[in-house]
């Protein structure tokens, strides 16, 4: 495990800087309504093809940062570069997975999954075929004609994931995607996410408030501290490759990392 204090910018960092960053966050601050300092001068970059988690207690600005990267919110100060280009709004190279799924209740699973493609002007036959493919990919084959209210929370989020995958964006922005699903489903989901990373060549930005989840799925964990939202630490968990989920949950490095993070976070929680 390697740890760096991001606040100490002059010190030699022990986490390597991304060599091929796809997203660069430069000096981003966000103030809500002139009073709430949700983010304070965030500098951060995200390596292409990696899964980076934003971790921190609730209210520390994780959602705000992710939505600024998505182009859904304007920063008060600073800028975001995606593939070297300044972000001014949402774009096809980024796809968002919502905490509350944000599915259209009047549309079937298939239509929901094809929504992004439809907005991009992809023809009907092609978009439905692609949507079908990704519905299968997230494990929902056979549910194409169902409606969201006929599905469990976990299945609904799979639809949200299929919709984001279908547009073939380079970056997947996921805001606590598993927080509204039950614990068993959540574990299965995390394992699926790891498998998905291996087949899909994408960069993931993953917001979570679960330490275990972050350590389990991430290449890198960016820890945020609240009021104002700042980066407190960056951690690269050194989990051995190819370890099975069951082995992992008993792995020494995994447990140490979780413990380490918990120690540094607990002062904000108490």
């Amino acid at each position: 495990m390697t740890v760096a204090l991001a606040a100490d910018n002059t010190a030699e960092r022990s986490v390597p800087k991304p060599t091929n960053p796809i997203i660069e966050v430069r000096n981003v601050s966000k103030v809500y309504g002139g009073a709430v300092h949700a983010l304070d001068k965030i500098n951060l970059s995200f390596e292409t093809g990696h899964l980076t988690s934003l971790l921190g207690p609730s209210g520390c600005g994780k959602t705000t940062l992710l939505k600024i990267v998505a182009g859904l919110l304007q920063p008060t100060d600073g800028e975001i570069l995606v593939k070297g280009k300044k972000v001014t709004g949402p774009g096809p190279e980024r796809a968002f997975v919502f905490q509350d799924f944000a599915l259209m209740p009047w549309a079937s699973v298939l239509q929901n999954a094809a929504f992004g493609l439809k907005m991009q002007g992809v023809g009907k036959a092609e978009r439905l075929e692609k949507a079908r493919h990704y519905i299968g990919e997230v494990g929902l084959a056979g549910f194409e004609e169902k409606y969201p209210h006929e599905l469990s929370g976990g299945m609904r989020q799979r639809v949200g994931l299929a919709r984001a995958l279908a547009v073939d964006a380079d970056v997947l922005l996921m805001d606590e995607p598993f927080s509204a699903v039950d614990e068993q489903t959540r574990r299965k989901f995390q394992e699926d996410l790891i498998r998905l990373r291996e087949v899909e060549n994408k960069t993931f930005l993953f917001v979570t408030h679960s330490i275990e989840e972050a350590v389990y799925v991430s290449d890198r964990i960016v820890m945020l501290s609240p009021r104002p939202g700042r980066i407190s630490e960056i951690i690269d968990p050194d989990i051995p490759d190819g370890i099975s989920p069951d082995e992992l949950r008993r792995n020494g490095t995994y447990l140490d990392t979780v413990e380490e993070i918990w120690r540094s976070i607990r002062k904000y929680v108490e």
């Binding site: 968002f96 919502f98 929504f115 991009q120 919709r163």
Partner: protein, 250 residues
Amino acid sequence: MTLFGYRLPMMSSLIVWVILWEIIGRLELLLLFPPFSEVILALGDVLTSSSFAEAMRITAISYVAGLAIALVVGIALGFLMGLVPTADKMLNMWVNTFLSAPLSALVPVFMILFGLGTPTVIVTVFMFAVWIIALDTRAGVQNISPSLIEMSRSFGASRFERFKITLFAALPEILAGVRLGMIRGVKGVVIGQLLVSIIGVGALFSLYQQNFLMAHFWALVLLLFTLALTFAEIVARFEKRIEYYAGARS
């Protein structure tokens, strides 16, 4: 309903009232109440008369026209209020006032403005129906989950597509408003014609009253009640479907 331990069929209380009516009518106590049997006989007369057909035609035309305008204006107004806070601040008080105001009192004003004819009845239907449609649409638009709108933005939806999503997401509330508007519109079309009184059912009522055709008068009342109740029943069926849809939303 049960009586002395016997289950009585649904309509039996109605039969009691009908018998009572028949007895009072036979006693010839009140000129106003002919026996029920006479009313039933008059029913055939009324139904086959050409003035009844004409009255129904005018009623249908005024109702459909007034409701159609109320739908367009009400939904547009609801969207405006739901989406633009300034418009909401300016309009909300007035819409609420009109919603609970005794609109019948305004019909004489409409008569001055629109004359003694169908236009006044159309305006009355419109005024009865439009406010509840506007308010329910407003509520629907304001209750849309913000993340659905963010979702559409993040996938690059055009303005038109975003509007479509807003419309669909608010549809259960809009349809609930439409249902209430339809029922209020029935009141509007009857009250409007009664007050204008020279066209449609209003003209028929005055005709029967002035000629002391009380059996015909009551026959027409029965007909209107039956029509209005049947209509409300149809609308209620339609509401059940909306409720299913709204329940399926979350």
